[in-house]
């Protein structure tokens, strides 16, 4: 069994990360009734002997003593991390896993990347090494951050580069929250584009998330729960936005609902690697199957179902509905419509009581309405995990490498250019040591190249299929 380490950077990263750890504990508590430290738990948690006080030795078998998250919490201001340490998750984190500062990054990518990066490089590397040493077989780093600010965006991408240098064989999955159009941080386009260049070059897989989509999903669930249709009460602990039922009774804060969605995304992504199933899918398979060309590693994700109804007599029509929903634009975690764009590859990670015949039936049903690239007409990667998420009997996570990410990137580029043309706010960046105008030029070029690659693929959509001629053999 392999281990994964979560690196949460910045305010957004830490808030989402916090939700992730809580939901992970809830999930394992629901399955692991006997309190034995098993392989599934070890993928994200260490079992530490704290009886002697402080940081004891790791216990690899037997009863759970004290679980510690395999995580690194990084923030350049103390507020968020302090809150976590005073909150119900304080025992899950080791003080040695934190890197904080006081003044924050002022929503400035250059401050996060160049200034703090340089300052904290050694510290970060040391703590990463320590965390890696506790792992028997480290497979993957999960980075959680936002793109629009200073710390998550700047320092987060600096850590990404460090991970590539220090641990080249370990996969790097990045969950990035992209700023929306009405973001209140004026310089968010600069920060995002500068960060994009780093993601293009150093990440194995990126899961872009947009707040607007999360918000829409939260609203949808609200409406559903409150509309009071007779006989359709929603099971509260099943709602993808809630953490009800977790052992830690926390007060739900404003962004919590949205962050829970992202936390659930990460849980479902790793479920097949942690639990049993008839068709397993490990994390290294995600990158192998969904990334046909090194730079096109942006995966659009969607989670279904969003909630389960308390009504037990649910016909299997619901199962098919789950598959249909996964492809609808309302369920995507970015503002995109994959159905009308071109698929390069698609992965379906199914959890719970679903068999291969259900999977195949739905793929056959949905295939005709989706456009796949000519050289990957049957590009489906599937996995079946037998353990369903808490509160559900089955669930589906769909990951798509689809050209529908292009509009998001194009909008980002437009917003960037609006500011850049006027050289607005540039001086805040340029006076940081190591930052030059060329950094901006390179970053926007990198983004433009990426968009161009997607354009080229889109151009092949719907065109006549000319298969390349096969090798001729002399008989």
């Amino acid at each position: 069994m392999t281990q994964s380490v979560v690196v949460q950077v910045g305010q957004c990263g830490n808030q989402v990360g916090c939700r992730f750890w809580e939901l992970a504990l809830r999930e394992h508590a629901a399955i692991n009734k006997k309190g034995i430290y098993d392989e599934a738990l070890s993928s994200f948690f260490r079992n530490v002997d704290t009886r002697g006080g402080g940081d004891g030795a790791d216990i690899y078998r037997g009863k759970i003593c004290s679980l510690k998250a395999r995580a690194l919490l990084i923030d350049m201001e103390e507020g968020v991390v302090n809150e976590i340490l005073q909150g119900p998750l304080r025992d899950v984190f080791d003080s040695k896993q934190l890197i904080t500062d006081v003044s924050g990054s002022g929503n400035n990518w250059a401050v996060g990347h160049k200034l703090y990066g340089c300052q904290y490089q050694e510290n970060i590397v040391e703590k990463l090494r320590k965390t890696a040493e506790h792992c028997d077989c480290l497979q993957c780093f999960f980075i959680i951050h936002s793109m629009g600010g200073g710390t998550g965006s700047g320092l987060g991408t600096f850590v990404l580069k460090l991970l590539e240098d220090e641990f080249p064989e370990v996969y790097r999955f990045v969950t990035s929250v992209y700023p929306s159009g009405e973001d209140d941080v004026i310089t968010s386009p600069y920060n995002s584009v500068l960060a994009m260049k780093e993601l293009n070059e150093h990440a194995d897989c990126v899961l872009p998330i947009e707040n607007e989509s999360l918000f829409a999903i939260v609203n949808k669930i609200h409406q559903m729960s409150n509309c009071g249709k007779l006989g359709s009460t929603v099971k509260h602990n099943s709602v993808v936005t809630s953490s009800r039922g977790s052992a830690i009774a926390a007060q739900e804060k404003p962004f919590d609902a949205m962050n829970n969605i992202v936390a659930n995304l990460l849980l479902n992504l790793t479920s097949s690697a942690r639990f049993d199933g008839s068709l397993n899918m490990d994390l290294n398979e995600i990158s192998m199957n969904l990334v046909p060309f090194p730079r096109l590693h942006y995966l659009v994700s969607s989670l279904t179902p969003l909630y389960t109804l308390a009504d037990v007599n649910v016909p299997s029509r619901r199962l098919d509905q789950m598959f249909s929903d996964a492809f609808s634009r309302d369920h995507q975690l970015i503002q995109a419509d994959p159905k009308h764009s071109l698929y390069l590859a698609c992965a379906l990670l199914v959890r719970g009581n679903v068999q291969v015949s259900d999977l195949r039936r739905n793929i056959q049903r949905l295939k005709p309405c989706l456009h796949f690239v000519s050289w990957n007409q049957e590009g489906w990667k599937t996995s079946l995990c037998s353990v369903p998420p808490v509160g559900h009997s089955h669930s589906l996570l769909a990951l798509a490498n689809n050209t529908c990410v292009k509009p998001t990137f194009m909008e980002l580029r437009d917003r960037f250019m609006k500011l850049y043309r006027k050289k607005a706010h540039l001086h805040h960046y340029l006076h940081i040591d190591g930052m030059e105008q060329s950094c901006f030029a390179e970053a926007i070029a990198s983004l433009s190249d990426l968009i161009e690659e997607y354009n080229e693929l889109d151009a092949t959509k719907g065109g006549p299929r000319t298969d390349p001629s096969r090798l001729k053999i002399a008989v």
């Binding site: 069994m1 392989e39 199957n289």
Partner: protein, 450 residues
């Protein structure tokens, strides 16, 4: 003689377990509708072939389990032990932590060399436990990373370490609409490499078995377990003991050798397909009766028309009339030409079954004597509760269309260079791909010109 099974990857291990289950339940289930003496000698032959006796009395399967991640092997070992009637040897398994990531190159170039010694040691130990080693039966899928890549490497090692032993590879062809996106690449690389080291490839296609489960077995929600059980039944119907000659007095001592001898006369033609009838849900068995003429007729038409199961056979397809000079122009479309066929009959009154129709020369290519091209094995001992069952192992154009389609899709993807960087990371270059494509185009061309 004993057969050592090597189970590779998730698929190989899951199916392997079902095969041993099926064999065990066959020998313990019924008395097989034959005399006690017959039954005893069947059981003894089966046990020698697949199991090793232990002091505790629970037979231990002659198998080595290999996987690059631990979950499936632990599950497999546990389920076997729970059955109570057989188990795996505690020491005969090898696993790692990280898996192969569906990457053939990872399985072949990284895991293979790294773990060669340990794996071959396990195989050597199992081989030494056999009084007489009859050969190796490796089980794998083509779509993933371990079964396919590591499987190809292990087969090569087996060939190097045991140059005179028979090696039969059981290969699972994945569903056409993806289980794994790079499955066509993995399949092309696997098949081309296996062709060099293996004696024969026995293929099962997931799509076909799935249809059997849906239409013949009436299973509503088909799981991989159901699919694996049908595959296990079909394999059991071939490898359980039977008499190789018309008036043989012993059960075949050399099952793999006999199989190869009858079916693989030429090294260019190694792909074997398997058909087994009848196939039905267990609770329908009591209400059904079969006759040998009926079964044989169906099986023959399944061979000629390349039907995958008893339902939906195209009865319009007929063999070409003898005496026509140029084969390729006068041969009717969809007619499946064979190189060699083997029919195995199990159950009541097999001595009365007439297999003359299978010796019709028009079924075969011209360069083999029809007497040599067809063989039959029989046993009066019924298999797995089926009063009569007939299996066909065929070296024919069965898999040609499917092989051609897989190579075509892989070539299409290769032309756009998609995913190649993932293989190059582990040492498989474009040239290696081209070599594999060339090898398979050769195989396709050979089978087409039959």
């Amino acid at each position: 003689m004993s057969i050592v099974t090597v189970q590779l990857g998730q698929c190989g291990n899951q199916i392997g377990r079902e095969v041993f289950n099926s064999i065990c339940s066959d020998i313990h289930g019924t008395h097989g509708l034959c005399s006690k003496k017959e039954n005893e000698s069947y059981r003894a032959a089966c046990k020698e072939r697949f199991f090793c006796e232990e002091e505790s009395g629970v037979p231990v399967a002659r198998a080595v389990l290999v996987d690059m991640e631990p979950k499936v092997i632990s599950q497999t070992l546990a389920m076997a032990a729970r059955s109570g009637c057989w188990r795996y040897n505690d020491g005969s398994h090898f696993c790692q932590k990280q898996g192969s990531g569906n990457n053939w190159a990872n399985g072949y170039s990284v895991h293979g060399p790294r773990h060669k010694e340990v794996i071959m040691n396990l195989v050597q130990k199992e081989a030494e436990k056999c009084d007489r080693l009859g050969g190796f039966f490796t089980m794998m899928s083509m779509a993933g990373g371990t079964g396919s890549g590591l499987g190809a490497f292990v087969t090569q090692c087996l060939r190097d370490a045991f140059p005179t032993s028979f090696i039969l590879n059981h290969v699972i062809w994945p569903y056409g609409t993806g289980e794994v996106i790079v499955q066509n690449y993995n399949s092309v690389l696997t098949l081309s490499h296996l062709y060099r080291s293996s004696d024969a490839l026995l293929v099962h296609e997931n799509d076909v078995i799935h249809k059997i489960c849906a239409q013949l077995m009436n299973i509503k929600q088909i799981s991989f377990r159901d699919v694996n059980q049908v595959i296990a039944h079909q394999l059991g119907s071939v490898f359980q003991p039977s008499y190789p000659a018309e008036c043989g007095s012993h059960y075949s001592r050399n099952p793999l050798g006999d199989l190869m001898e009858t079916l693989v006369p030429h090294p260019e033609f190694k792909m074997l397909g398997l058909r087994n009838i009848p196939q039905m849900p267990e609770n329908s068995l009591a209400y059904s009766t079969f006759s040998w003429p009926g079964l044989i007729k169906h099986l023959r038409q399944m061979l000629i028309a390349n039907a995958k199961m008893e339902e939906g056979i195209d009865w319009q397809v007929r063999p070409p009339t003898l005496g026509s000079c140029s084969h390729s122009t006068t041969k009717p479309l969809h007619f499946n030409t064979s190189i060699a066929n083997l029919v195995i009959l199990r159950g009541k009154d097999t001595h009365s079954a007439d297999l003359g129709s299978f010796q019709d020369p028009s079924l075969y290519t011209s360069w083999l004597n029809p007497q040599d091209a067809f063989n039959a094995w029989k046993t009066p001992r019924a298999f797995n509760k089926y009063e009569k069952s007939a299996s066909l192992v065929s070296n024919s154009q069965f898999l040609l269309k499917h092989l051609d389609s897989v190579v075509g899709k892989a070539w299409n993807m290769f032309a756009s260079k998609a995913y190649i960087h993932q293989y190059m990371k582990f040492g498989i270059e474009e040239e290696d791909f081209l070599d594999s494509f060339t090898a398979l185009e050769q195989v396709i061309s050979s089978y087409t010109s039959l």
